[in-house]
């Protein structure tokens, strides 16, 4: 029986955001935008969705005089990401078997 793919992570941009945050302690909104090539508005919406699910934390502050939004993956987010990758592996191993 296959595990259902987490619908929140099964989206191009949200998956990319989580893939970035999984490898770092924290990342700036500007950095995530540069890495994903997404528009600021779209990225902001997707980050809010991940934050509402408790997968990431978003901290708004200042770096000097510039406003700065910092994102961090939570333990729940890391667990969900790992489960998502495991579920993907199941799908792929079945395709190989066929």
């Amino acid at each position: 029986m296959f595990r259902k793919l987490n619908p929140l992570l099964h989206s191009e941009l949200r998956l990319a955001v989580m893939s970035i945050l999984i490898g770092v302690e924290e990342a700036d909104f500007v950095y995530i935008r540069k890495q994903t090539g997404a528009t600021a508005g779209n990225l902001s919406v997707q980050i809010d969705k991940l934050s509402e699910a408790g997968y990431i934390t978003v901290e708004k502050g200042f770096k000097g005089k510039k406003p700065c939004t910092t994102c961090r993956a939570t333990d729940t987010g890391v667990k969900a990401f790992n489960e998502y990758v495991d579920a993907l592996k199941d799908y792929l191993s079945l395709q190989d078997w066929r």
């Binding site: 970035i20 302690e25 993907l88």
Partner: protein, 191 residues
């Protein structure tokens, strides 16, 4: 990148692996910069002290070692501010702690040398510690140029145990050169 929810398993894995690879490249981009910075400062300051100490015979020029943190710290802050968009990683934190441990040990040994026993801080000990710190950093960040430069600095300290006076500065000068070359190679490889 858009909000595409109809992804196949292959597409999802591709997004994950490509994003992670891009992220790694961005993090490692400036890896050698700090080694070049500290290496160049160490080389220049030790060369200046060597020339002045050797020329005048007065060891008072050793106070110029304080130029290293005086120049290096603001320069390092300036560089980190220029890259303020770069993400913080666990590796950066670990490397920072390793250098913090080296700094605290070096300061404690200097204080002990000045107050308790003038023989606590010999050149071999401090050079070995310095080389060991570079070596540990190289192992943590998995960079062979940094590992090699650390090992060379440790060996360099051992080779110069018979030297004294202004010649001690030469050990630091060569250590600085090795550090700069290691940093430059690490930077070139990561490009």
């Amino acid at each position: 990148m858009e909000t595409n929810n109809n992804l196949s398993a292959e597409q999802s894995l591709k997004i994950i692996s490509e994003t992670m690879a891009r992220n790694c490249r961005a993090i490692e981009k400036n890896q050698g910069t700090y080694y070049i910075l500290w290496g160049v400062i160490l080389t220049l300051v030790s060369a200046i002290i060597y020339l002045l100490w050797n020329g005048t015979g007065n060891p008072i020029w050793n106070y110029l070692w304080f130029l290293i943190p005086a120049i290096g710290v603001p320069a390092a802050i300036f560089i980190s501010k220029r890259n303020d968009c770069a993400p913080k990683t666990y590796l950066h934190k670990t490397v920072g702690l390793i250098w913090c441990a080296f700094g605290i040990t070096a300061v404690c040994l200097t204080i002990l040398t000045c107050t308790v026993n003038p023989f606590v801080l010999d050149t071999y000990l401090i050079t070995s510690l310095f080389g060991f710190t570079i070596l540990s950093t190289g192992i943590v960040i998995k960079s062979w140029p940094i590992i090699t430069s650390g090992a060379l600095v440790v060996l360099l300290g051992a080779l110069y145990t018979n030297y004294g006076g202004a010649q001690i500065c030469l050990i630091w000068l060569f250590s600085g050169v090795i550090m700069t070359i290691g940093g430059a190679i690490a930077k070139l490889i990561r490009r």
